[in-house]
């Protein structure tokens, strides 16, 4: 629904009222911003020595190494998730119940369990014994399992979103189920699924920060030694948050561009939520 229908072109009294509201909002926002700046200033948060870290090359390199670690964990998580998601997604639309039900159970389980719990569990099995690289792989495996389950739903929704005529025609010329899925449906489904997959990349990137609880490397872990040494909690926090926001915005912009360029006006993919009853329709 076009939201401009919610309110009409304003008449003179409404224009005056809206102007009052706008001024009030701007005043409130400016006051809040001023309060924050004054507070920060009174505690010397704008002093040069607190911000000097971010223009010192070796510290900038340290922070960027943390960013690289985060990106590596996210990439590993996504690759694992795509593999697992493909396997589980195709399993969920199988004709055989003995494949379908275990896949459904696995997907439901890993969608319902919090990622952090998986990370903690893997840490207690593997991470504790392998000092530096252990937590890295714990994060990657936990992310792969969780995002694999979500991507399984995305793959299933994508395969079912291909127009039904395609699969009917493929069956009509005698293809078997596996040929229909691999040769006809998957190539067309990939185009539909790419925006959802990229959104899941953004989620994965944000979830790599959870590794903080199990001493994994990454952007959030990099902040601690810096603010412990320089006592500049607020500047460090602002810079790290800004880095995360920039990377996520770039990914989101990529997803929007891909949606416009390759998928066009078609509706966004509808992925069912956890616990929702699944229709028995197979591809």
């Amino acid at each position: 629904m076009s939201t401009s229908v919610l309110f009409d072109a304003p008449g003179p009294r409404t224009v005056r009222r809206h102007r009052v509201y706008s001024v009030l909002t701007v005043v409130v926002l400016a006051a809040a911003l001023a309060l924050v700046v004054v507070r920060l200033n009174s505690r010397d948060q704008f002093a040069a020595d607190k911000w000097e870290v971010f223009v010192t090359p070796s510290y900038v390199e340290f922070i960027l190494n943390g960013l690289v670690d985060t990106l590596q964990m996210a990439a590993g998580g996504i690759v694992g998730a795509m593999v697992l998601g493909l396997v589980l997604g195709i399993g969920k639309i199988s004709d055989h119940r003995w494949i379908r039900t275990p896949c459904w159970a696995v997907v439901e389980f890993f969608r319902a369990v919090p990622v952090l719990m998986l990370m903690i569990f893997f840490f207690s099995i593997y991470g504790i014994y392998n000092g530096t690289s252990g937590p890295f792989w714990c994060v990657v495996w936990a992310l792969s399992l969780y995002n694999g389950a979500v991507l399984a739903e995305v793959f299933r929704a994508g395969l079912l979103a291909v127009p039904k005529g395609q699969s009917e025609a493929a069956y009509a010329i005698g293809m078997r189920k596996s040929q229909v899925v691999w040769i006809v449906l998957l190539p067309q489904a990939v185009k539909i699924m790419i925006p959802a997959i990229i959104s899941q990349c953004v989620v994965t990137l944000k979830d790599t920060s959870l590794g903080y609880a199990i001493a994994a490397p990454g952007l959030t872990a990099v902040a601690r030694p810096i603010y412990l040494e320089f006592q500049n909690h607020i500047p460090v926090y602002l810079v790290i948050a800004a880095l995360y926001i920039v990377v996520n915005l770039v990914l989101t912009a990529l997803a929007t561009w891909v949606q416009k360029r390759f998928v066009g006006e078609r509706k966004q993919l509808q992925v069912s939520m956890v616990g929702e009853a699944q229709s028995e329709r197979a591809a």
Binding site: M1, L6, S124, Y244, N248, G275
Partner: protein, 231 residues
């Protein structure tokens, strides 16, 4: 198995804390999210842009950073929740709701409200355009149209994504572990460190309880959705 039998009180108290975290954050995020969506579709462009900026910034920040802000960075500029000091004594232990808990609730509310805003906005966009036109035709102003015509239908239409955000909130309460709130994931970590032999049982119990909680939420939402579905 012994680890669970010996520590069932700790497990129960930690899950009670998780559920309390979820309830408070859920109510807060629904209220704040509704306010945000009203700003987002409103006629005053300053409010529209402020809400859009807030939603974009907070959506792209990891939840952990927001919680760390309220626990580590905010006290440095004088924002702390020391005035919150509620302890509920039960037979099995105390449920402590102190400044860490309050900071976690505030952080979770601020984070989830953005997702609630987006879910409700998709609901608002799903309301047929004729409804809003009819509301204008009988002379309802923006506030009246939202309250009486659009928002009730938007909540109906936006219920599936809304429930997804609340389920995600339930799972996100585990992130409060990093700011030392004694909830389920914290208890899991403690018990895993103390009883390394029972780790599979511990995972089974904790994951099982979470699956049950999520399925309960999901079932409740399915009930509501079926009742409010429009044909």
């Amino acid at each position: 198995m012994d680890a669970i039998a010996d520590n069932y009180q700790l497990i129960a108290i930690s899950f009670a804390t998780t559920i309390l975290l979820f309830v408070f954050s859920s109510i807060g995020s629904l209220l704040l999210g509704t306010l945000l969506v009203a700003m987002r579709v409103g006629p005053i462009s300053v409010m529209r842009r402020t809400a859009a900026l807030y939603v974009t910034l907070v959506r792209n920040t990891p939840l952990l950073l927001i919680l760390l802000f309220f626990s580590i960075a905010a006290p440095k500029i004088g924002i702390n929740f020391q005035f919150v000091r509620i302890v509920i004594p039960t037979g099995w232990g105390d449920i402590r709701m102190t400044n860490a808990f309050a900071g976690a609730v505030v952080g979770l509310t601020l984070y989830t409200a953005t997702f609630v805003c987006e879910a409700l906005r998709s609901g608002v966009n799903a309301v047929p355009i004729g409804q809003a036109e009819a509301a204008r035709a009988i002379g309802l102003p923006f506030g009246g149209a939202m309250r009486h015509v659009v928002l009730p239908q938007a909540i109906r239409a936006g219920l599936p994504p809304l429930v997804s955000t609340q389920i995600a909130l339930l799972k996100n309460t585990t992130v409060a572990l990093s700011v030392l709130v004694l909830e389920a994931a914290y208890a899991l970590k403690q018990l895993l460190d103390a009883n390394p032999g029972d780790r599979w049982w511990l995972l089974a119990v904790f994951a099982g309880i979470f699956v049950v909680l999520v399925e309960v939420l999901s079932l409740v939402s399915n009930r509501f959705e079926r009742r409010w579905r429009i044909a």
